[in-house]
């Protein structure tokens, strides 16, 4: 386990170095104020993080975490039901397939009209993005459990609840987390977009506001911090998944 983890960290460090070097090179070659050097940007992050940026990070982090938790709370049980009961699947699958490809960003004006400019419309947008992947992966994970796995529990007289606890949840946990991780990237970009409207908090607001004020140092600081936030979320999901699927 330890060498694999170390390798992962080495990989992360290596890619960070490559990105920073490229950035620095481009900044040096271009010599324009719109591409400041990474050194200046990191310096700026240190200066402004506590006084001006921290609150925005918290807002974004809370929105995205709440969005993911709500999506899991609705999507996983629905996916389980669809995977376990063919009738539920026949009822909901067409609905899911029909709504899944709808570009969710196009729904933003509608959602905002109905739910206002506040927090709920931002959460709804994130949930709309993340939930479909979770529903489908939960369903497929349950469908993929071989019938024989159920047999020994059935012969022990296990209740439906015990089947859920002993078989369905552990068998599908890692697939569900994988799909959450996949959806996370899209969710962060949607979060950014929704935060440019109707709020004065959040990394989206911070970045767009800096841009409007032609403060490129702040803007880049915001972008770097937002990326780092995404990296941390990915890592958290990775760690949970490693723990849950040590049996694989």
């Amino acid at each position: 386990m330890i060498p694999v983890q170390t390798k992962k960290w080495q990989g992360a460090l290596y890619s960070a170095l490559v990105v920073l070097l490229t950035w620095w090179l481009v900044a040096w070659l271009a010599g324009l104020p719109i591409i400041p050097s990474p050194v200046a940007v990191f310096h700026n992050i240190i200066d402004i993080f506590r006084p001006r940026m921290e609150i925005h990070v918290w807002y974004s982090l809370l929105r995205i975490s709440a969005g993911i938790v709500i999506s899991l709370l609705i999507g996983v049980p629905l996916g389980f039901l669809m995977g376990y009961f063919d009738r539920v699947d026949r009822l909901f699958s067409p609905l899911v397939y029909f709504t899944y490809p709808v570009p969710k960003l196009a729904l933003l004006p509608v959602v905002m009209l109905i739910f206002g400019l506040g927090e709920s419309s931002k959460l709804i947008m994130i949930v709309l993005i993340v939930i479909f992947q979770i529903i489908i992966s939960a369903r497929d994970a349950v469908k993929g459990i071989p019938q024989e796995i159920y047999r020994s529990l059935q012969s022990l007289g296990a209740s439906r609840f015990q089947m859920l606890k002993e078989i369905i949840i552990p068998a599908s946990a890692s697939e569900v987390l994988t799909s959450t991780r996949l959806a996370l990237g899209t969710a962060i970009s949607i979060l950014f977009f929704t935060e440019t409207f109707g709020t004065e908090y959040g990394m989206g607001y911070f970045i767009m506001d800096s841009w409007m004020r032609v403060n490129y140092l702040d803007m880049y600081a915001g972008i770097v911090v937002l990326s780092f936030m995404g990296f941390c979320l990915f890592t958290v999901i990775d760690l949970i998944e490693n723990r849950l699927s040590s049996w694989r």
Binding site: R151, S152, L153, S155, L156, E166, I167, A171, R248
Partner: protein
């Protein structure tokens, strides 16, 4: 006692109804061990699914100690060819699964420790199934069944996925443990050798739909060095003849 009267099972398939088992009648005394042998697709596994309460739609009556089959009230140990272990549970959790489902205490008491030692898996408790060999996985499945002290033990070709040497080892080990606990056992196999080695009585089933062709008393049961004896040879010729007729 297991009592099976006029058991018939039909399957719904795309081609219409298929009869899997046709009027099975047999009584099995408590503490006895019967091997069921028959060609592939003769409904052997179907019979076990009925007895384990997995399949509930059938004709006729099946009772265990006078009561209808109900896995919630009876203790039924089912051991399958693919071992039926849960890959996300380690050996300890897998062996305790029966007790857990039955809401018994799940700490290692003397009896479970004894069974785990007998089966030689007491040192593997923290391992996951994928880290075990086929023989070890089957030992875990057997431990799980014995630890919950079953009323009835059902075995569906449990050793057929093992290599020949491990298979004979496991047969001997199983018989050894069985003799000390005498659980009523139905053992399904497609191997004449296994049927002779493990069955006090041997039930020969016909090709689909499964019918009982003959119930044979097995004089070879529990003989020492069975496989080198004339009785073994004579019985296997007899069994093969019955099977060929079907």
């Amino acid at each position: 006692m297991i009592s099976i009267k006029d058991l018939s099972v039909k399957y719904q398939s795309n081609l219409g109804e298929t009869l899997a088992l046709d009027k099975i009648n047999i009584d099995i005394a408590s503490g006895d061990i019967y091997t069921f042998i028959g060609p592939s697709g003769c409904g052997k596994s179907t019979l076990l699914y009925v007895l384990s309460g997995i399949l509930t739609e059938y004709g006729g009556t099946v009772t265990i100690n006078g009561r209808a089959v109900d896995p919630r009230t009876q203790r039924i140990g089912l051991i399958l060819q693919n071992y039926g272990l849960l890959p996300w549970k380690n050996v300890y959790q897998n062996t305790m699964l029966g007790l857990r489902i039955k809401h018994d205490r799940t700490d290692l008491d003397d009896y479970s420790r004894y069974i785990l030692n007998e089966l030689g898996i007491a040192d593997l408790l923290q391992r996951y199934p994928r880290e075990l060999s086929g023989g070890q996985q089957q030992r875990v499945a057997i431990a799980r069944a014995f630890i919950m002290k079953p009323d009835l033990l059902l075995m569906d070709e449990p050793f057929s996925a093992l290599d020949a040497i491990t298979r004979e080892e496991m047969q001997a080990l199983f018989l050894d443990i069985w003799q000390r606990h005498s659980v009523t056992t139905i053992f399904i196999t497609h191997s004449v050798d296994e049927a002779l080695y493990l069955g006090r009585k041997i039930v020969v089933l016909s090709d689909a739909p499964g019918r009982i062709m003959e119930v044979v008393d097995n004089p070879c049961f529990q003989l020492d060095n069975l496989r080198f004896r004339d009785e073994y040879y004579a019985m296997s010729v007899r069994l093969r003849n019955i099977l060929n007729k079907g």
